[in-house]
Amino acid sequence: MWHFFSFTTAIVMFLSTSAAMAQARQDSVIRELSLKEVQIHTIKKSKQPRTAFYQSSMLASTEDILARIEGVNLIRRGPVGMEPVLRGFSAGQINVVIDGMRIFGACTDKMDPVTIYTEPVNLKSIDIRYGGDGSGMGATIGGTLNLKLADALIDSNARFTGSLASGYYSAATAVQNVLAMNYSEKRWAIRFSGVYRKGGDYLDGENKRVNFSQYGKLNTSVSGKYSLNKNSVIKADLLFDDGWNIGFPALPMDVGYAKARIGSVTYERNDPVAFLQALEAKIYANSVRHAMDDTHRPAGTIHMDMPGQSHTAGAFLQFRLRSSGKHTIRAKTDFYYNSVRAEMTMYPPDAAAMFMLTWPNNHQMVAGIFVEDEMYVSDKSRLGLKLRVEVAQAKVTDDVGAQQFSIMGYDVQRPVNRILKNANISYTRFLSSVLTVYLSTGFNERSPTTSERYGFYLFNQLDNHDYMGNPLLKNEQAWNAECNLLYATKNLSWKLSVFGSRVGNYIVGRTQSGLSVMTAGASGVRAYQNIPSATLFGAESSVNYQILNKHLIINNTWKWLQAKDNEDTPLPLISPLKIMTSIRFQHRTLFFQAESEISTKQDQINSDFGETFSPGYMLLHIRSGYGFILKKNRLDFSAGIENLFNKAYADHLDWGATLRPGRNIYGLITLKF
């Protein structure tokens, strides 16, 4: 009886396999269309052909990789700590998560976006889902950037593997050292990685030192994995990131220290034939401490201490059910608690110290349910449905903060509850064996951030205004739509995206004539307000072409964006058209790569927010590498010159138009064992 049963199962499985293979290819196409996934080389080389383009070298930082992704721009206030922007959306409009874990920066001036707390060496991939496609990780209008942590690898054939890289960058006389190791037994494995980066003030394209552009950073992570049985594993991850003396030339202060402690335990089960096909449960906690520092700045202004902290704990459970009929259901439930506090103490000469809370102790509790149904409508088309409902509570928890806000006429100790709804629908049509179209549209909401709600006289250098939070802000609500086309043959793939969003209750700062400035020299006070609407739209393209038997790889991406408010005024910090092209010649372990980076001028500016016209620029980079294969190890040398012609330039999203590094010659050695 048992034999008969297993025989039948085998036949059923065999019959379904061929169909499953075609379906698997379709699944991967849909993934490519709904998700931008950039895999990362660490110990093992990523198989994704484009990784070499995004990750220009083993020592590229997370920010370096993000800057090259179409759809991502970075707001730069200093050489480290750039803030990611997804298709014009940033800060609270997007979710930046680490392996699905919510984590929030502790700096009131956005000096510590979550992306700085990871390093490529502890990442497996960077996943970006734009707009409502990203609502699986939390209510969002702009999307989700998920920094997926690298797992320990259980592989009894390779007991001990690793890589060691060391490099030098001339512009900032910077050294960077990276170590990653994996040790595996039969049922368990442990992975360690560490990165040390230190840079001095860099030389810009005019051969001038840019003061306060130094940095120091140490990132270590340990992750362990234990295989409970054939289908399930338990994982534990710990990540420590310590930054110190990080300069912010575009701001009046630097970072004294920035420390993140991130930990999680995950249980995973995968069983393709079970009803509960895949299950992941994670509990996590993280803590960020951050302090600004002005002691290295020229004397004359009042010295101040501005420490901040952010603590988050959460859990989620997600699972996928075996397909039944046309439906494949994925569901997730998640919860997190975040509490933040930031304060400022100023020490005027010959007067008492002045203290206030710039972020009064406040917490957010968020619980959400997410359901996704992937409907197999026919051989040629799929329909996707994503729904998320989230309950969010925010409250100021200390008296001083409540008193501060009572001055403004707000009662912030009463909890504010919000229900956030995200609903998205997508449709994929396989037009031919090489051409696929993906359409997606939806309604999405996000709640205001801590700064937007409870910020107290936060100084914004860009528009030279103090910013006041507004506890009564309404949720931002967006209608998002996008259309993606993917043309893919064996050697050529081309993805074109056109997207747009109409955001209601868009949150911006508006001048309050009745309030006097707190920061000496500021031109006024602004408070966050909902304006009726803003419109953002744009297009992106990415082409990858492999010719001459993969000896030559040509990669081209461009990104273009337009954004304006309800009065047709351009929104601030919108990147102009950017085109990046790279040609890579590869023969065995030798490669040469030439890259061009073009940014057009930006004259769609918002002068009220301190923006000025940004001229366009074009940069050339060259890179090369050669590897020796020793017995069991491999030694790679690579070297390159970035900004070959020493162009003096600044990007439109660089605050204060501080010039970026000039010609930068780098060299690095990588040993893989």
């Binding site: 008492a352 206030m356 403004m408």
Partner: protein, 270 residues
Amino acid sequence: MKKLYAFAFLLVIFAACKKDGNAVPDPKEGLQKISEAYAPGISTKVELWAKNGLSTGYNQLFVILYDSVSNQAVTKAVIKILPVMNMEMNGMHMSHSTPCVQPESDLAENTLFPFAAVFTMAGNTEQNKWSFEISIKRDGQTKTGIARLGIKVGPSSPERVKMLTTAEGDKLVVAYFFPISPKIGINELEIIVYRQQNLMSFVPAEDYLLASTPEMPAMGHGSPNNVDPAYAKNGGYRGKVNFTMTGDWRINLELTRSGQKITTFFDLSF
């Protein structure tokens, strides 16, 4: 075992009772004795209490009366207080008074008769001496007794009282106090304005329009949504002042009467 429970039960009861016993607060809690004297002829001991030692500016004070025979607190009496400064300058004697807010009621609040004095100068030396002449008529007695209590008044820094002379020649004494110590947030503020009639007589100045503007001199900024003090009673103008942070603050004051404006300020730190 049973005994143990009974013991525990009794202990709880006892603890509860003890707490109950503390329910009526000690009227002198948090206060210190400033001075004491007997009022001759009415067999009454007069004690003067205050939160802190006295200094120039507004001072909240409390009179407590005891029957000198029974040592019981006297809770009903008509009390009038006259502050007197006796000065010796180059052999010349001179005396003057200062604004004083009299007890509002002849009934004590938990044995305390609250009043306030605005000292315009320090007095703690042989040459400059402050005293209170307190006249007392106890309930049920016909005789009025007078007690003289010497007090020491220190200087305050920053100064908590200002003397102004208006364009019309009015001499004003201006002081301030916070019913609750200043803190970050909204603070009730009372400004006291008295007009000097002669050396010994000060009367509430009720007819000024006040505008108060807080400012942090080190930063040059103020705070929003303040409420200008409006006249309440006993020379006091009540308003609201908002402090956005701790540190050194200055409250700028503008006093206007029949188109004439006079300004002053108070510095404070918390």
